[in-house]
């Protein structure tokens, strides 16, 4: 038993806000496409419930046994714009409602994937899904939406940029908080566990577990302990600390995947801040020597 290592781990959790920000189960819905939106929505609900029914109990069990907070339990699904099949009514809101119902029934915090990937161009289904985003977010509580409008390889789809500008306004006008459930991306990744931008890409498997870990407080404390260190040592400290935080995410993800009988996919290290004291990247930069970091936008709870 190495008491120094144990003390360090416990201090990271108790005092530096180290946590597993999210365990996100990715679920492919491609096999839920039916002939019409009603039956597709039911198949979507059934598959999410079948695959994720043990997600929250398993996450709670891991939190209890290992003493590491797991803040969110989430699901990401195949971009819903791909699920229209041959039904040109494009009533995607029915699928959003099915996703929301499944999330509530399973006590899942957020469910992402009400999405379209339109960096090259938009199909009629893509356009219909984008048009339905305001209604879908107004009529659901836990559904998150994202649209990828550009990539390094493809460039920007300016038609989609214009459209999304209008959609953002429509989402935010009646209820500004709904805008927190919508992300407009460039270079969206297919296995991002963080919300609101999580979706489960078509190149992924049927089901897998991804974890997201958070460690700004841990990094800040580590570099505060070496105030006069040369640059190389500073870099090494950040690297080693990030490694330890990432290992936590990997460990928890592997345990969760094993207990849920699905593959473990990726761990994502987030440096995104939350409103919690001691959990901000700005404090890391100030610890490194910047006199102060100005936050230009009002700080609000981040769904990350």
């Amino acid at each position: 038993m190495d008491s120094k290592q144990i003390s360090e781990t416990i201090a990271m959790i108790r005092e530096e806000n180290l946590d597993i920000r999210t365990i996100t189960m990715g679920i492919s819905l491609l096999d839920c496409i039916r002939g019409d939106f009603d039956t597709t929505a039911q198949a979507v609900y059934d598959k999410i419930v079948a695959k994720a029914q043990h997600l929250v109990p398993v996450a709670d069990q891991i939190e209890e046994e290992y003493g590491l907070p797991i803040v969110n339990k989430r699901v990401a699904v195949t971009p819903v714009a791909l699920l229209a099949g041959g039904d040109t009514s494009y009533d995607f809101v029915k699928i959003a409602q099915a996703m929301d119902r499944a999330a509530k029934d399973l006590d899942i915090d957020l469910i992402g994937g009400y999405s379209a990937l339109v960096q090259n161009g938009m199909t009629p289904a893509d356009e219909a899904l984008i048009d339905s985003i305001p209604a879908a977010l107004q009529q659901t509580e836990r559904v998150c939406s994202s649209v990828n409008i550009g990539s390094t390889k493809s460039g920007m789809n300016m038609d989609a940029v214009k459209l999304m500008g209008e959609i953002v306004q429509q989402v935010a006008t009646p209820k500004p908080q709904d805008a927190m459930k919508l992300v407009v991306f460039c270079n969206a990744v297919e296995d991002n566990p963080f919300m609101a931008g999580a979706f489960w890409g078509v190149s992924e498997g049927d089901v897998a577990i991804n974890t997201g870990v958070s460690g700004p407080g841990v990094v800040q404390r580590a570099i505060a302990a070496i105030p006069d260190a040369p640059f190389e040592q500073l870099c090494e400290t950040v690297k080693q600390t990030a490694f330890k935080v990432s290992r936590m995410g990997q460990f928890v993800g592997k345990v969760a995947a094993e207990r849920l009988h699905v593959p473990f996919n990726i761990v994502d290290l987030s440096l995104a801040p939350t409103p919690a004291q001691g959990d901000s990247v700005a404090e890391i930069l100030e610890t490194m020597g910047l006199s102060h970091v100005v936050v230009t936008a009002p700080r609000r709870p981040s769904p990350c």
Partner: protein, 88 residues
């Protein structure tokens, strides 16, 4: 199952005895023990092994109840988490 029991708080007489008795009541074998001052608090760490038929949650609740009686914070965590962070 290997666990680490961490006891934190103000030092006082009888901490080791009370925690060890609770663990013994649940047939938990203490395999290692150390104490230190961590950020100003008395901190004791015990490495222990739960019997195969033990229920983790029951033992954890028992040691935490002992902690409340002592006015200390007691955590029980599975050992693997510490290995995972520090060792490849």
């Amino acid at each position: 199952m290997d666990v680490v029991v961490t006891v934190m708080g103000q030092d006082r007489v009888g901490i080791v005895a009370a925690v060890a008795q609770t663990l013994a009541d649940h047939n938990v074998n203490i395999v290692d023990m150390t104490q230190t001052i961590l950020h100003g608090s008395f901190t004791m760490m015990m490495g222990a092994t739960l019997p195969a038929d033990a229920d983790f949650a029951t033992v954890k609740q028992a040691v935490q109840a002992t902690g409340e009686q002592l006015g200390m914070t007691i955590q029980m965590q599975r050992h693997e988490i510490f290995d995972a962070m520090h060792e490849l």
